[in-house]
Chain length 124, copies 2
């Protein structure tokens, strides 16, 4: 059977699309962006800045600087260190750190929807 | 006369603000972003890629590559060359080039409003 009007015709990819990047600025500049939020999630996963940095192919020094920047700009620190114990201590995400992750992904998701909607409005 | 409730109290700067960057992607990647649109405006102003590049402290080679990328991705070229005449010819913006500039600034302005609105919604 043949239909003259294909109902499930795949949507053509539009020629132009709006793309973008967002981040949250704090008192000293960048507070959190895509890379920093991934770093926080890796710290939560690995319980250590060293292991988190390694998993992202990032130097410990750079990771530490990013964490320090977030801690300084947050009302309360985003990670905390526990010392001693069997594993010699580690680094944990604080509730403030969890809140930062959630706030960034909420903004990020909304932004993806915005980009899609605006792509359709491009006068090109 | 003294009012207990200051009507013109300046708004406090919020601790966190959403910031971002947008660009328009085409078939080959970036089609136009902030830097490219400024370059197009300078070409319109100076009537030459060489002079436009110079005014932005950009190499001619780099400016030419950006213009070439836009020309290849646009349905019709964004600039055209006129040869001969008293000044030895030059480069002019086409109507397609004007449309690209307008479309980018329209998206850019809308985006600034979006960032302001979303900054107020940050749960931080």
């Amino acid at each position: 059977m043949h239909y003259g009007f294909p109902m499930n015709k795949p949507t053509a990819t539009p020629r132009y699309q709006l793309r973008g990047r967002i981040w949250i600025e704090g008192p000293e500049g960048t507070f959190v962006g895509y890379g920093r939020v991934i770093l926080l999630e890796r710290i939560r996963e690995h319980g250590s800045i060293t292991a988190a940095a390694k998993s992202m192919d990032m130097s410990y020094r750079h990771a530490w600087k990013l964490v320090d920047s977030m801690n300084r700009q947050s009302r309360t620190p985003v990670v905390s260190k526990s010392t001693g114990g069997r594993g010699g201590g580690g680094t944990q995400l604080t509730p403030a750190g969890e809140q930062v992750i959630a706030a960034f992904w909420a903004a990020y998701e909304d932004f993806q929807g915005y980009l899609d909607a605006q792509s359709n409005k491009l006068d090109l």
